[in-house]
């Protein structure tokens, strides 16, 4: 998958010394950034096992005694359990809604002919690319308060799904345009209805971009903060970013316990990535995303 079975400067004119110096420089640079990326997490773990006084005294040193009680405190006081469940629910539900709704739209724009209305509606939808969150969130609060869905998972599900519509539709439509129509035409000739064509032919063929979009969606929604913060408060709806933010209130001055809370939140995501690394990377780069 990657080029470079040999070294770039493999021409016989280059001396072995220069080549190995280049090599080590490359490795140094790679390791340097790896340290920059990974060390803060390591430091947080070390901090989370200290007492507060230790943190002030010797921020660098490893903890004197492993204070696991910080983790217990963080989990109990931070009520992180419900937050995780809420985040999972919001992410999965909005994923299903966003993808199915957008796929239907993309199918309509790509495969169906309905006259001049089509280009108007396309522009209508593409306009949504330009709308930033700041201009939406307060009216959305008013809206959900009015329909009594404020402070519920559904508010977030609907908001995230709606927000994904322009991008997903655009992406899927571009992909669908590139699919040859033979399969679909064949199905039509076999007497399939449009709905069946969509479900049994087009969707399966669009698996790659759907996975890509799903990956983006999960990454974006899981960590979204602005909407979640203003639209949820109670434990039945609070998502993880909001719960993390509230850690600072729940644990107040117990800094090292707050650090433990952060680690609790970070580790699962790291694990999730390790286990699903190949799929995630494939998802991010599959489809018609690149080129």
């Amino acid at each position: 998958m990657y080029p470079g079975r040999g070294y770039p400067d493999s021409s016989p004119d280059r001396s072995a010394l220069v080549r190995s110096v280049n090599d080590s420089l490359v490795y140094i640079a790679l390791v340097a950034w790896a340290l920059v990326a990974a060390y803060p997490l390591v430091w947080m773990i070390s901090t989370s096992l200290k007492k507060d006084a230790e943190l002030y005294r010797s921020p660098f040193a490893l903890p004197e005694k492993l204070r696991w009680s910080n983790y217990v405190d963080a989990w109990v006081q931070g009520h992180l359990g419900p937050c995780v469940i809420n985040s999972i629910e919001v992410t999965l539900l909005s994923l299903v809604v966003a993808l199915s709704v957008s796929a239907a739209c993309a199918f309509a724009f790509s495969r169906l002919n309905f006259g001049p209305l089509k280009s108007f509606l396309w522009t209508y939808v593409m306009f949504g690319f330009l709308v930033p969150d700041s201009v939406r969130f307060f009216p959305l609060m008013v809206f959900f308060a009015k329909i009594k869905l404020f402070d519920s998972i559904w508010a977030l599900v609907l908001i995230y799904s709606a927000g994904a519509v322009p991008w997903n539709t655009f992406f899927l439509r571009a992909f669908m345009e590139k699919i040859p129509r033979d399969h679909e035409d064949a199905a039509v000739m076999d007497g399939a209805s449009i709905w069946q064509v969509f479900l049994h032919v087009t969707l399966p063929l669009s698996r790659a971009p759907l996975i890509t979009l799903a990956t983006f969606h999960v990454l974006g929604v899981w960590n979204e903060f602005l909407m979640a913060f203003f639209l949820t408060s109670s434990e039945s709806a609070r998502t993880l970013p909001v719960g993390v933010r509230m850690l600072t209130g729940a644990l107040a001055t117990n800094q090292t316990a707050i650090a433990a809370g952060l680690v609790i939140v970070m580790i699962p995501m790291a694990l999730f990535f390790v286990l699903l690394q190949r799929h995630i990377v494939k998802g991010l780069t599959a489809g018609s995303f690149v080129g």
Binding site: Q77, H79, S233
Partner: protein, 418 residues
Amino acid sequence: MTLNRRQFLSGALSTALLAALPGCGRRPATGKVRLTYNTFWTGLDAHTSVMDWMYRTFRKRHPDIEFEVVQSAGGAQDNGQKLMAELAAGGGPDVLHDTTYDHVRPGYCLDLTDHIAAWGDRFYSEALASCTWDGRVSSLPTEYSMVPCIWNTRLLHDVGEDVPATFEDYMRVGRALKKKGIALTATEVAGGHIFFSVLFGQADAVQAIALEEWESEPFRRAVEVLKEIRDAGFLPKNDIEMLFANGASLFQNDRLGHYMNGAWTLMNEITSLGVDPALRDRVAFAPFPAVDGARPIRAWVATKTALNAQIANDKPKLTAALAFLELFTSKEAAKLFISDAHSPEGVRYELTRQLAGPLLYAFMNSRTQATSVFTLPNNPGYFGEQSQSRALPDLFASLDEGATVKQALSVFAEVLRS
């Protein structure tokens, strides 16, 4: 992989099940009156045990009311912001945990004057006065305390000093602490209270406020003192970026001379989870030694619980809400707040040493060392809120940038006038 019918159906079914899941935890539809209350007195907060008692008792005594409590941690600032957003969106809970004039002015708080008339004389008059604007009572004092300096006696002892009684003593303590590399105090944990102490230690302060003369002498003096403390190097280097929790954390770890807060700090910061248990034995409480021998102490209603104005026309809900408030400010509750939360209400109840415990008793008794007791006047109404949440932070920041007294004062005045 084509989606055959069965796969599609099972996918749809599991989605539907997932969808039902959030529905499970939510409100079951009943015919009862529903009352909602948002609070951040939860978790490790001092008041939690008393609040839990209150919820239990209320539900037992009123089985016909569905009482829903939303407990969010996150501190006063975040919750204040969100509450404001919810109220502005036309929603918000029925019982508002913590309100200020900023909630009264736009009309979010229900006028309680007539409703509590039947309750009799249960509140301290100054406490109730803090909740009264333009002659109407809009909230109830559910947290009422003195605000003395909380000194770390071990640090004082280490530098050979005692709790300062005069301003000169105070500055001397600061110098001694500075020599040991310890900050005397920090803006976020004491600055505002110091400002008010110096201000109200001067006779003409109340009048200046009523006349809205924000740049007059009493204010100038207060800013001068703040600047003096800052210029002497008694504040931490990153003072301006610190939150209350940072300053409190420093104090807990013997790195800060004193801070100032109400009685709730006893259980929240002095004896709370993760804090050195010996800390409570090395704290002392005394009024701030303002200039010219004045040692005023503030009586502060820190939490004013109110009702959402929107329930005014919903008779059953209004009755339920008033019943809750009545329990909240009953004698039973007041007693528990003293004994279990160490955070008295503005409800009349005798604070004996036995009931309050040595720490709270000493805390509230710092009043006896004061030359006067003051509260922030509610005339003009916006003074309390505007100064505390907007003008003072800007004042401190401009002092941090090196402004002169005059410049800083004008920043302060400008915010108040806007």
